[in-house]
């Protein structure tokens, strides 16, 4: 049996919860998390941009026998379907590995912690059904967020 070495980072090429984070920023967050938690960081796998695509994640799962675990940039990069997430937890824990999420500072080391992960994800998925859609809009118009489109129009 080969030796387990290090934690594979996992970043993504599409928005996470509606926000696009540059790869560089995602890697900074993952590396900082690894350093602070004394985890041996291995270069991140980068998920493809197509919505619903997890091909890179499945590559990392195939690599689990050689890893101590995975460090996600964010918990919310996991598949939206509960069954898919449960299968992923199962494969990671079954391989004796850990699953970390750097942005949320959470770790899954045994099955009793699955509920913490799922509770967080379920609560966030429920927010659109709560008052004000779960988000307090401070600006009356979205102009703070569409400066890039406005700049394009001026060209």
């Amino acid at each position: 049996m080969s030796e387990k070495l290090g934690y594979r980072g996992y970043i993504i090429s599409r928005p996470v919860r509606g926000v696009s984070y540059p790869h560089r920023v995602q890697n900074l967050v993952v590396r900082d998390y690894a350093t602070r938690h004394n985890l041996a960081y291995k270069l991140s796998a980068t998920e493809y941009a197509m919505p619903g695509c997890y091909m890179m994640l499945y590559d990392v799962l195939a690599e689990l026998p050689q890893l101590e675990g995975i460090i996600l940039f964010s918990l919310f990069m996991l598949p939206q379907r509960t069954e898919s997430r449960l299968e992923i937890y199962d494969r990671i824990l079954g391989a004796g590995c850990e699953l970390h999420s750097a942005l949320e500072e959470m770790v899954l080391q045994d099955r009793s912690e699955i509920e913490n992960f799922e509770e967080m994800i379920q609560a966030v998925l429920t927010l659109p059904n709560t008052p004000m859609g779960g988000y307090y809009q401070k600006s009356e118009s979205p102009k703070l967020n569409n400066f890039f489109l406005q700049a394009l129009k001026q060209d």
Binding site: S74, T82, L103, E104, M120, A123, T126, L127, G134
Partner: protein, 268 residues
């Protein structure tokens, strides 16, 4: 309809009228544990012996700590406290029933802790006047649990602008657009209130009202901690559930509701 109990009604009215409530800590042994751990971390950083009087040691920390080391000292204590698995629950226990009365019983709690160490006459840790709702990424549905580790009073504590005055001045903040926050502070100063909070007491306040601190002109150092709470299902701003807030008291009805799916497979 209002089925709140008399004590809840009184607390709620005081909170809305004053913008804050100051009450005795609900779990003094937890607060002592937090303060003792803070002292342990401080003595470790400074390489000094454990003192016999924790409050006196913290009050007089300026004699042991060069100002240029203040921020690394502060970060050392924050990371040391956050590394303790008991810390956040102990902090919450200092005001659990009060937070549940003011906010609700299904809560999220800020993941990290804010720690203020204000050495006398040090201007490197000042927090200009602001409201967290328009001066920060905060939702107006949040409250702050502010806990001092020493007696806090006069310029050694924080100030708030009471809600009535805040509502009046908020409409006029734009008048100071080109003058900066200091001119705003000078304008509101006659109406601000300094919160006098002896050790063993806590403050719960709404950060929607203007607040801040000034140069500590007292002879001893201010030590205070702050952590935000809000209802799990109340609107967030850019301090989001996940990276900033974590659920701490999810109730079973919500657990069921969040997982519930309707029967499917029907066709028109």
């Amino acid at each position: 309809m209002n089925f709140l109990q008399k004590t809840e009604i009184d607390l709620s009215a005081a909170f809305i009228q004053n913008g804050y409530v100051i009450t005795p800590c609900e779990n003094l042994s937890a607060l002592d544990k937090i303060r003792n751990k803070t002292v342990d971390l401080a003595t470790h950083f400074l390489g000094v012996q454990t003192p016999t009087n924790a409050g006196d040691f913290l009050d007089k920390i300026a004699s042991l700590l060069p100002v240029e080391k203040l921020n690394s000292f502060r970060l050392h204590i924050i990371s040391g406290l956050m590394a303790e698995p008991w810390f956040r629950e102990a902090y919450f226990s200092c005001a659990r029933s009060l937070v549940e009365t003011i906010v609700g019983n299904e809560l999220v709690m800020q993941r990290n802790i804010g720690l203020s160490i204000q050495i006398p006459d040090d201007d490197s840790s000042l927090l200009p006047i602001h409201s967290d709702s328009w001066g920060s990424e905060c939702s107006p549905f949040e409250v702050v649990l502010w806990i001092p580790l020493v007696d806090c009073y006069r310029t050694k504590t924080m100030f708030i602008l009471p809600p009535d005055a805040d509502a009046r001045w908020r409409k006029r903040v734009n008048e100071f657009a080109e003058d900066g926050t200091e001119s705003l502070y000078q304008a509101i100063e006659p109406e601000i209130e300094w919160l006098e909070v002896p050790y063993g007491n806590i403050v719960l306040f709404t950060p929607t009202i203007m607040h801040g601190n000034r140069l500590n002109q007292e002879s001893t150092t201010r030590w205070s901690m702050n952590i935000r709470f809000k209802g799990l299902f109340t609107p967030y701003s850019d301090k989001r559930l996940g990276e900033y807030f974590a659920p701490i008291t999810v109730r079973p009805a919500s657990k069921i509701g969040m997982k519930f799916t309707m029967p499917g497979g029907f066709n028109e």
